[in-house]
């Protein structure tokens, strides 16, 4: 790699500071960083694998060279000095305590070495982070990123705020990819039949084969990859096909867009993506479409942002609130369904019928025969149809990704009939440069393999052995192929089966490109030299071309040469701009002309009411299993279920009763002959008669993923990859312990306290209502009672001066936060971001089960009303930085105190760990290191730590700090310039990650600050403020826009309540 310009921005704090471009030799610096970091280590460890590898890494840890590397990587590596002690165990610890005894906490530390550069890279300022723009390629469209890099180590991944589509939002998976990069289980080198080989050796044999196959046009050479996201990759393949016309490329992801593609093909004659413009929609109808729960839904970031734009309750010029209304008909309860103003629980197999019926109701087709609907369903259908018709052109119907083509077709037809096309929905080229029907392709590939036609099978970044449909028996077929190759960042199930395994690169390690869901192109630029010298798919594919040694960088640059014009003499100007901006302007797709005339295919007959169907869904966090080894994603409880680690057989309470099981029972699920063992877990609002299994767990490898949950692929077949009826359930009698961070206390329904006495309510939810923790109203009620959040008992905030003591005055800055409950869609992006920013430890299933999760920020989910058809509320909960902080008063050593700017700060190194503060915290947001949770051993994880945040040791209390490290950075900048900190200059990690701007942070003493304005809104209330804690974090009460036809007002100001 030579002569690569990399544009980057220096930032005071994220989002601020002037940007300027400069050039520097990434190659040189990469060599530097590499030399000083992992190169040597790699040499030392060459030839050691698995456990042995890590053991010897530990031995290494002592050696000065190693400390050198770490020191270099960590100019201010921050961790409590005690860490080596706790590492080396008891004797040392005792020794340390001896040393401590009598000394004033500041102890005699060991000599620390300094390892300066030999040649320092020019524009590196150690201790000042640099931000690089790149993108995270994901099957459903790339997520454009701005990555924080400290001494050339990426330490924080966030959305690119300037990007036209996502505008800075991110999601848990995107946040998690950072840990994926530093995953110690990543594949370290190339293997051939289990023996270590050099990359060169592979290239040699691969190219030799190609040479001899050239004559036959490459017949017998197959490439199997995950969904291709890179235009350059497509271009490379296109070129390759010229010389290898008979070579085949098959894409397969277990979670794919076949239904959508099939429908669009039928409607437009060509594959198309549908882009929905929710900001223009008054009525949104989701047909099992989970578009608010994360990157798993194409275009999530934009959809979520637009959806919440219309729920911020800012008065439009018309004087109206122009609030949208969301209807959801869905099977598995999702955050989308829980955010809906009206939700209908439907079995997945009923949705196609429902879609057709809806189409008929709005005059876009004929109703399906033989479907019978419950009264609720009929009522729902009728009023939805009415609402839709009333707002033609200002409404939109969204089909579910996990629904068959017919639902997509119906959606196309309805949107067409209502004249939404071009207004609330447009159809464009596909983000995938080479769209295909993946399941069918895989079938034919397997057929070829079994037929012995396949001589070379190169598997790129896919794990079919684990995730291919069970009926295809992919692994057996693999045995029939002469030579099999697997390139991947992990040596996974497939990598262990194939002849060759090539250790692949992470997207932060290699050059590539990708399109965001709107088509805007982003160049994926690496931020660090491959940690383990991995290789990218581009390099493999390039071998098929006449210039096989062209680097990925050059290939990518060539692809976009046209979009990167020179400026005068500066040939690299355009290219640098692309890298600096993180995307190529004006490359978004334009709408296809002409709406689709979709003929809705006849839907299958309605399944028998008493039969039980199985629904397969990608996991919210580990997706199809590729992120199963990312600790954060496993530990952060999934939305809705609050299930951390594990997956489960999710079903409604009624179904649970029907099959005579109770939660935690291990069930044997049999689906046309195939069996899987799955523990049962009840989900409020789940459709009756269907069981949802999340894919992606039950991995065999990985110290995180291994042994977590069960593998749902075992019963997933190619003919019914979405859902399948006719399952039989048997209790095995075993019991499985879950790590559910919040139960709904169904062990003890709220018969005695709260609720309607029916015993079907969640006591937790009822209490939340009675205690004014959740406050909401319908739109009409809100109009009549703008101050509803403060009406009613226990909802008024005591006046600070009624106290016997004078209240403490905060005259300068006063930091505060406002969280909009209307905008929070409970997607967990903020939680994941907090993990990354604050070096929060992963504690593992057992500790989570004991209730010792370390998350500083959590999303509380309260289920209101009958758990069979609940209304839910998401409430992000972190330290409230109370002005009368109960925790501070009881700390005997003053380890938690208030700063003059009103931060409730936690001084880890002063904490002795009495845990009194946690007991006295009404919000229970303090987290305690009961054991040594922080990982001080694993070197690759050390590289990931944020150097500005102390790594907490055992026996210390910790909690949300309002990202004090960011505040202080901003302060220093401001002080240097003798000015006040500007509004928006300090952005907390959670705020930065939130795709819907639900979280706003700032100085509440600054009259013009956003947070001040939000806090002045009448909806703004403090949780538990009536016990006079005076929280600095407040919430904007929820307002729902219900359809009076469907439900009477549910809020507390409803006629029947008041």
């Amino acid at each position: 790699m030579k002569e690569q310009g990399v544009g980057f921005r220096v930032q005071g704090t994220a989002g601020d500071g002037v940007e300027f471009m400069s050039e520097h030799e990434i190659s040189a610096t990469e060599k530097q960083t590499a030399k000083l970091t992992l190169d040597g280590v790699r040499k030392k460890l060459a030839g050691q694998t698995g456990k042995k590898y890590w053991r010897s890494l530990d031995e290494l840890a002592g050696t000065p060279e190693f400390d050198a590397a770490v020191q270099q990587e960590f100019p201010q590596h921050s961790s409590e000095w005690i860490d080596p002690v706790s590492r080396r165990g008891f004797m040392k610890l005792m020794g340390a305590s001896m040393a401590l005894a009598g000394l004033a906490g500041c102890t005699k530390q060991p000599d620390e070495p300094i390892y300066p550069y030999v040649k320092a890279p020019e524009d590196l300022i150690l201790g000042k982070p640099v931000f690089f723009a790149t993108a995270f390629p994901f099957p459903t469209g790339a997520v454009p990123l701005l990555v924080k890099s400290d001494a050339y180590r990426p330490i924080k991944v966030d959305g690119n705020p300037d990007h036209p589509l996502t505008a800075g939002g991110s999601d848990p998976i995107t946040q998690g990819t950072l840990l994926d990069l530093y995953d110690p289980d990543r594949s370290q080198r190339c293997y051939y039949r289990g023996e270590i080989r050099e990359w060169a050796a592979f290239l040699a044999s691969f190219r030799a084969t190609l040479a001899e196959k050239k004559a036959a046009g490459g017949a017998g050479v197959y490439i199997l990859s995950g969904t291709v996201t890179s235009p350059t990759m497509a271009a490379q393949w296109k070129k390759a096909q010229a010389s290898y016309p008979n070579a085949k490329w098959v894409q397969y992801d277990a979670v794919n867009r076949d239904s959508a593609y099939a429908a669009s093909k039928a409607a437009f004659g060509d594959y198309a993506d549908a882009q929905y413009k929710l900001d223009a929609a008054d009525v949104i109808v989701s047909l099992d479409a989970d578009f608010l729960s994360g990157a798993t839904f194409p275009g999530f970031h934009k959809l979520a942002k637009d959806y919440t734009k219309r729920r911020k309750l800012e008065k439009a010029s018309s004087g109206d609130y122009s609030m949208n209304r969301l209807y959801v008909a869905e099977s598995m309860t999702t955050t989308t369904g829980l955010k809906a103003d009206h939700r209908l629980a439907l079995r997945a197999s009923d949705v196609p019928g429902f879609a057709a019926a809806l189409a008929a109701a709005v005059g876009a087709g004929s109703a399906p025969s033989g479907y019978t609907w419950s009264d609720d369903a009929q009522k729902f259908l009728a009023s939805v149809a009415k609402d839709l018709k009333a707002s033609g052109g200002k409404c939109v119907v969204i089909p579910g990704e996990q629904q068959p083509a017919s639902v997509h077709a119906a959606a196309i037809a309805i949107n067409d009939a209502l004249g939404n096309v071009g207004k609330t929905v447009i159809y464009t080229e596909t983000v995938n440069p080479m769209p295909s029907m993946q399941t069918d392709d895989l079938k034919s590939l397997v057929a070829d393999m079994n037929a012995g036609k396949v001589e070379w099978l190169v598997i790129l970044n896919a794990n079919p052995v684990y995730s291919a449909p069970a009926d295809l028996q992919f692994e057996d077929a693999l045995g029939k192929v002469k030579t099999t190759v697997h390139l991947g960042s992990h040596r996974d199930e497939t990598g262990l089966t194939t002849d060759w395994h090539i250790n692949g690169t992470h997207y932060l390690e290699a050059w590539s490109d990708a399109r965001a869901y709107d088509g805007t192109v982003s160049v994926v630029q690496p931020l660090i030299d491959p940690l383990y010298g991995g290789h990218s798919a581009h390099e493999v594919v390039q071998s098929l071309l006449d210039n096989p040694d062209l680097s990925a960088y050059e290939a990518v640059r060539a692809t976009w040469a046209a979009q990167a014009p020179a400026k005068g003499a500066d040939a690299d100007f355009g290219w640098r701009k692309i890298l600096h901006d993180g995307f190529i302007a004006n490359t978004a797709y334009t709408a296809k002309s002409g709406g689709g005339k979709a003929a809705i295919p006849a839907v299958a007959a309605q399944a028998a009411a008493d039969s039980i169907e199985i629904i397969f869904r990608p996991d919210y966090h580990v997706y199809d299993g590729r992120y199963a080894n990312v600790g954060w994603l496993q530990e952060i409880p999934r939305p809705v279920t609050n299930l951390s680690w594990d997956n489960a057989a999710l079903m409604s309470y009624a179904t649970l009763e029907k099959i005579g099981a109770s939660e935690h029972d291990v069930l044997e699920i049999t689906l046309n002959g195939r069996k899987v063992l799955a523990p049962a877990l009840a989900v409020p609002g789940h459709a009756d008669g269907s069981i949802t299994l999340h894919l992606g767990q039950g991995r065999k490898i990985g110290r995180v993923a291994g042994g977590v949950g069960f593998n749902a692929y075992q019963i997933r077949t190619s003919d019914a990859p979405l859902y399948s009826g006719g399952a039989s359930i048997k209790k095995t009698g075993d019991v499985w312990g879950f790590a559910v961070t919040k139960s709904h206390y169904i062990d003890q329904r709220s018969v005695k306290v709260g609720g309607d006495g029916s015993g079907t309510h969640s006591i937790e939810g009822n209490e939340a209502m009675d205690r004014g923790i959740i406050r909401y109203a319908t739109l009409d009620e809100f109009k009549q009672h703008p101050g509803f959040a403060h009406e009613g008992s226990g909802k008024d905030d005591p006046d600070p001066d009624t106290s016997m003591f004078p209240a403490y005055r905060y005259d300068k800055n006063a930091w505060g936060m406002s969280i909009d409950m209307n905008s929070c869609v409970g997607c967990n992006a903020c939680v994941a971001s907090c993990y990354a920013e604050n070096n929060i430890a992963v504690v593992g299933k057992h500790q989570v089960t004991m209730g010792r999760m370390m998350a500083w920020l959590r999303i509380d989910t309260y289920y209101e009303g009958d758990l069979a058809a609940p209304r839910a509320h998401f409430q992000p909960m972190a330290c409230h930085h109370c002005e009368n902080a109960p925790c501070e008063q009881v700390c005997p050593v003053g380890a938690t105190v208030h700063t003059p700017e009103g931060l409730n700060t936690m001084v880890y190194n002063r904490c002795v760990g009495t845990r009194y503060c946690s007991n006295n915290c009404p919000y229970k947001v303090r987290r305690f290191n009961f054991l040594l949770y922080s990982d001080y051993e694993t070197e690759s994880l050390k590289l990931m730590h944020n150097p500005d945040v102390t790594v907490r040791s055992r026996g210390v209390m910790e909690k949300c700090s309002y990202c004090v490290q960011r505040i202080n950075a901003a302060k220093i900048e401001a002080d240097k310039e003798n000015r006040e900190i500007r509004d928006g200059e300090v952005v907390t990690a959670c705020q930065q990650a939130c795709p819907t701007d639900a979280i706003v942070f700032g100085n509440i003493n600054d009259g013009s600050s956003r947070v001040r304005k939000l806090k002045q809104q009448e909806r703004s209330y403090g949780v538990l403020a009536d016990i006079n804690t005076r929280p600095r974090t407040t919430y904007l009460a929820e307002v729902i826009n219900i359809n009076p036809e469907l439900a009477a007002a549910r809020g507390e100001f409803a006629p029947e309540n008041s």
């Binding site: 005071g12 000083l36 921050s78 000394l103 150690l126 700063t899 102390t950």
Partner: protein
């Protein structure tokens, strides 16, 4: 039959009682001293370094600027340890075969770092920023002592929390004009050597360095233009500031015009003047925990 104890034991018993008391007191005093002793703080200890680098020689003798090696001291929390390249800038030409410099040449040849031993070593949970101190008028020598007189580098101060607090609670006692930051020999003003300072009219949004001019020669005595008090700013930082300031401080890059100079003959007077004009935060702010611990 005789007594159990003989006469002397009375005295003995009482003595031992008194003694126990004394021992307890002595122990307390010892520990109190121990925690502040060089054995704990490393104060004044000279670690053995791969190269016996003499700051005295390079700073006093050759007159090297601090920033020549510690490049990021104004820009980052981390002052910066010079890369081998910096040494080689000169030592490629001079002392090319001096025995002492062998490690440097090796490092240059092999690309392996020179392994220094950290002299000023704060606990890892302490977040110290050179950047802000230097920009707000804390001279190098205030903390590091007369480095220019140290043949071998050592730690001048205890670097203990109480030491930090001493200054954070009363910055005026140590603050100096930013023009004097790198002046190792800087002395607080006195009757004999007074200092004249003038605050420019523009306050807000002007880098500390530019808001105040100080000189040691009486500007009234027409001894010509007083040297401007300002840290030298590289274009980038200027751009950054001006850009950032686009809205509320268009004047930042303009060199402020000295107005009326005031004469200072004591550190207290100068200190309080600078604290006011450099917008130093209040002691309460500066001694708040989160300033150094996160």
């Amino acid at each position: 039959m005789a007594q159990i104890f003989d006469r002397s034991s009375n005295a003995l018993a009482r003595m031992s009682l008194v003694l126990t008391g004394l021992i307890v007191i002595a122990l307390g005093v010892t520990l109190d001293q121990l925690q502040r002793s060089p054995w704990v703080t490393r104060q004044g200890q000279r670690a053995d370094q791969p190269v016996p680098f003499s700051h005295k020689h390079h700073v006093q003798g050759l007159g090297l600027q601090c920033q020549y090696c510690h490049t990021s001291v104004e820009k980052s929390s981390y002052a910066g340890i010079p890369p081998t390249r910096t040494c080689m800038n000169c030592h490629a030409q001079i002392w090319t075969n001096a025995e002492l410099l062998q490690p440097v040449r090796d490092s240059w040849a092999t690309g392996e770092s020179i392994v220094w031993t950290k002299v000023h070593d704060l606990p890892d949970y302490v977040y110290f920023s050179h950047e802000i101190h230097v920009n707000k008028g804390m001279g190098c020598s205030s903390c590091h002592g007369r480095v220019d007189e140290m043949p071998i580098m050592y730690q001048q101060n205890t670097l203990q929390m109480e030491w930090c607090l001493n200054c954070h609670r009363n910055p005026a006692a140590n603050i100096r004009p930013t023009s004097q930051i790198y002046n190792m020999a800087w002395k607080s003003p006195s009757e004999l050597s007074p200092v004249w300072c003038a605050a420019s009219d523009v306050k807000k949004g002007v880098p500390t360095a530019q808001s105040v001019n100080c000189t040691s020669s009486d500007p009234a005595s027409g001894s010509g233009n007083p040297q401007l008090a300002s840290l030298h700013l590289n274009p980038a930082r200027l751009a950054l500031i001006s850009g950032a300031q686009a809205t509320d401080a268009p004047t930042s890059v303009r060199t402020p015009q000295p107005v009326s100079y005031t004469k200072f003959t004591s550190q207290e007077a100068l200190g309080s003047f600078l604290v006011q004009h450099y917008n130093i935060r209040s002691p309460r702010d500066l001694s708040s925990c989160e300033v150094c611990h996160r």
